[in-house]
Symmetry: C2
Subunit: 430 residues, 2 copies
C-alpha cells in the first residue's frame, strides 16, 4: 500500500465517520503513524441524509473530503480502500488495494441497514444510510411522479404516489415529515396535471410509539405533528415482505406501493476475521470493554456504532448515534496515547447530551436532560445544533442559505434526477 | 402520453436548454398548448460545468428543475422523454414514452460532443457537456490521484498525474486553468505523500491560437495566464487517437495519460426524421431561414445550437453559445404568436453582447463590442454576468457563497467521489 514503515507505532483506523474522525484528530501531531481507510473519500453527515433524499440540500454540502479534514497532520495517511478481512494473528488487513500491517487497529466502521435476514425486502426496498443511497431515493421519488403522469392504469398510478416508510426512529419520522411537506408545498405546482391529493405517506412502526428512544411527550407530539401533516402512522405493525409491488405485514393490512423505504433497523458493519460468535453482541456489534478494547485482542479497538460497550447503564451498548461515536473516538484517542506512554487507561463515560428529531417546518421535538420541549423553539434548536456539528465553514454557509431559502419560499429546489435510479439495477444499492 | 387535446394549437418544444426555456417563457399565458420534452428534468447551466468537474461548485447549484421554471404556466406540460424519431409527414413524434402529435414543432436539442468519427477517442476520452459527464470527470480526476498513491510503477504514476485537454475553446481553457489552480493550491495539502509537482496539464489546439472566436488580444492574454499557471499549450497539433493510454497526434509528439478530456468540438444534436442531407448544414446543424423555420417544413422550427441560420454576417450560422440561443428562443416565441395571428414574421437579428472566458483567480478575458479588457476587472465581470444568468435565487446565493469561500480560502471543497467512475464502464458517458 506504499505506506512507509517508521519508528512510530502504526495505528490503522477503518472508517471516516464521526468516531474515526474524532479519534484521528486526537492523534494529530503525536508520535504515532495514523492510517485512515474508508471506502469513500468523504465524511458523511448522516443526520441530514433525509434532506438530500427530499431535495432540500445538495449532497455536496453534507459531505466533506476526509483528506481536507486531516490535511497538515504529520505522519498521517489516507487510503481509499475497502477492507476485506482482518488477519488478527498476523496483525494484517487484507484490502482491495493490498495488505497492510498494523500495530493498533481501530474498527470505526459504523453500521449498515439491518434487513433481519429478509432478502426480498433487501432487494426491493430503498435504504438511506449513504449519499449514493439518498440520491437514489431522491431520483426514485421524482421518477415516480413522472411515471404516474404517463399511466392510464388507476392502480399503478396510486401505487406510484404511495410512499411506505418502515421504522419509527428519527430517520423514518424525518423522511415522512419531509415527504408530507413536499406533497403540500411542491407537488401541486410541479404536477398540475396530476391529482397530487392522492399522494399517501405511511409510516409503519412495530412498537407502540414512534421515536421510542425519546420521551413519551416527544413521541406523542411527533405523532401529532405527523398526523397534522397528513402522514398515516401504523403502530403494532411489522412488515414481513415486499416484492416491489405489495407490502405484506403481520396484520391483515397490505399496501400497494412502488416505494418502500426501509429505516427499520441497523446493525454493526463487521469485517471478516473479527466476527467470531463470542466477539459479537446483539445486532452484529463488537463487544468492547470500558476502554473500547475488543476482548482477547489487546491491540484492537472498536468505537461508535459498531462497538457494543455493555455497562450497567447501557446493557445493550450505547445508542447508535453521532454523540457516543464522537465521544468514544476522543476518549480512545487519549487512551491510545496513554497506552503508548504506559499510563493507565481512562474508562469511557458517556455524557448524554440529549436527543432531538425534526418533523417539518417549525416542528421538532427535543429531549435534554432537564428539559423537554417541542415546536418552533425546538425546531430552531435542532437547526442550530445540526449547523454547528456540520464539518466545514462552507458547508455550514451553504446549508444555512438553503434552509433560509426553503423556509421563506416553502420550497426545496434540489429536485433533480441527475442519475436516474433504475429500480431493476441494484449495483448502487450499497 | 396523456396530454389532453384542446382547441389551442399544440407547440411541442424538444429540449429545455437556453433556447427552449426562453421560448417557453414567451408562450406563457397565450392561446397555445405548450409541451416541453427533455431527457433530464432540469435545465443545465452549461457554462459552469467545468467548475463542477473541478470541485468548485455542486452540480445542484447549476441545475434547475424545469417544472419549477414553468410552474403556474397555464396549458403547459412537461414530460421527461427521449425523442426517437420525427415523423414529419404525420406531424408526430416517436418517444420512449409514446407518440405525440404536434401542430408546431421546435427543435431546441442543443449540441453534443463531436468526435469527428473517431470511435476510439469517443470510447476512451471524457466529455463535459452534461452534469453526469462533469461528475464522471470529477470522480476520475480524484480517483487518479488515489490510484497514483498506490502504484510503484513510475510510468503509471506519471500517466495518472498527466492531464490532456483537447480543444482551445472556452471549455478547454477554463478547465485547464482550474486544474492548474488545483495543482497549486489543493494537491500538495491533500496528497502530502505524492510528489504533485509532477502533475502536468496539457492543452492541445489544432489552430494557431486558443479562444479563436475572441480577439487576438484575448487569446494572447489567456495564453499568458495559462502559461503563468503552468499549463503547457500545444498549438498546430491535432489529436488523432487515444487508446486509453497514449495520445497520438499528427506531429511527432505523443502523450501518455490516463485522462483525455475531449473539448475539441460540438455538433448539432439531431433527431432521426429531420436528418436529410439538404436539411443539414455543416456540423450536423439544421438549416433554418431568418425566422428559424426549417426549410420545406412550415410548422417545424429550430433554435439555438442545433439551428444554422446562414446570413451575410454569419455564413456558418451563429456561434453555438448561450446568447444566440436565448435570443432566438425569444424571437421565435414572438413569431409563433404572430403566425397564429396571421401577422408577418420578424426576422431574427443577433445582438452580439460580446464574449468572455475565465482562466482562474483574477484572470479572465472579456471582449465587448467597443472595449476589450483582461485581468482582475474582467474576472469580476465574468463572475457577475454568470451569476446574473444563472436561473434561480437560491442557485445564485449558493454559487456566490461558494465563490467567495473559494476565493478567500484558495479552495474547492466539492472534491468528492460520490459515484466512482469506472473507466471501463461507458453506460453513463452520454
Amino acid at each position: 500500500m506504499n505506506i512507509p514503515k517508521t519508528s512510530f507505532p502504526r495505528i490503522v483506523i477503518i472508517g471516516g465517520g464521526f468516531a474515526g474522525i474524532s479519534l484521528a484528530k486526537k492523534l494529530n501531531n503525536k508520535e504515532v503513524q495514523v492510517v485512515l481507510l474508508d471506502k469513500h473519500n468523504y465524511h458523511t453527515f448522516q443526520p441530514l441524509l433525509y434532506q438530500v433524499s427530499t431535495g432540500g440540500l445538495e449532497p455536496d454540502s453534507i459531505a466533506y473530503p476526509i483528506r481536507k479534514i486531516l490535511k497538515d497532520f504529520p505522519n498521517f495517511f489516507f487510503r481509499l480502500a475497502q477492507v476485506k478481512e482482518i488477519k488478527t494473528g498476523d496483525n494484517t488487513l487484507v484490502t482491495n488495494i493490498g495488505n497492510l500491517e498494523y500495530d493498533y487497529l481501530v474498527m470505526a466502521t459504523g453500521s449498515t441497514t439491518n434487513y433481519y435476514g429478509n432478502r426480498e425486502i433487501q432487494l426491493n426496498s430503498m435504504a438511506m444510510k449513504s449519499i449514493p443511497q439518498s440520491l437514489n431515493l431522491r431520483s426514485l421519488i421524482l421518477e415516480n411522479f413522472e411515471q404516474a403522469l404517463l399511466t392510464d392504469q388507476y392502480h399503478e398510478r396510486e401505487a406510484l404516489m404511495n410512499f411506505v416508510i418502515v421504522g419509527g426512529g428519527p430517520t423514518g419520522v424525518e423522511l415522512a415529515g419531509a415527504l408530507a411537506e413536499i406533497k403540500k408545498g411542491i407537488l401541486p405546482k410541479d404536477y398540475p396535471d396530476l391529482d397530487t391529493r392522492k399522494v399517501q405517506i405511511h409510516l409503519i412502526q412495530s412498537g407502540d410509539r414512534i421515536l421510542k428512544e425519546m420521551s413519551e411527550k416527544a413521541s406523542s407530539k411527533a405523532e401529532d405533528f405527523l398526523e397534522g401533516l397528513g402522514v398515516q402512522i401504523w403502530k403494532h405493525t411489522r412488515v414481513t415482505g415486499y416484492d416491489g409491488k405489495t407490502v405484506k405485514t403481520d396484520t391483515d393490512t397490505i399496501f400497494e406501493t412502488a416505494t418502500l423505504v426501509w429505516a427499520a433497523g441497523v446493525k454493526g458493519a463487521g469485517i471478516r476475521g473479527l466476527d467470531a460468535k463470542d466477539v459479537l453482541a446483539r445486532g452484529n456489534r463488537i463487544r468492547v470493554n470500558e476502554f473500547n478494547q475488543v476482548m482477547d485482542h489487546d491491540n484492537i479497538f472498536a468505537v461508535g456504532d459498531v462497538a457494543c460497550m455493555q455497562t450497567k447503564d447501557t446493557p445493550r451498548g450505547h445508542p447508535m448515534m453521532a454523540q457516543p461515536a464522537i465521544q468514544q473516538g476522543k476518549n480512545l484517542g487519549e487512551n491510545l496515547l496513554r497506552l503508548l506512554d504506559n499510563k493507565p487507561l481512562k474508562p469511557f463515560v458517556y455524557k448524554d447530551k440529549g436527543s432531538m428529531a425534526t418533523v417539518g417546518r417549525n416542528k421538532a421535538v427535543v429531549d435534554l436532560k432537564n428539559i423537554k420541549f417541542q415546536g418552533v423553539f425546538a425546531w430552531f434548536v435542532w437547526m442550530f445544533v445540526h449547523l454547528f456539528f456540520l464539518i466545514g465553514f462552507r458547508n455550514r454557509m451553504v446549508v444555512f442559505v438553503n434552509w433560509v431559502y426553503n423556509y421563506i419560499r416553502f420550497d426545496r429546489e434540489a429536485r433533480l434526477i441527475i442519475r436516474p435510479f433504475n429500480r431493476n439495477y441494484s449495483a448502487f444499492k450499497d
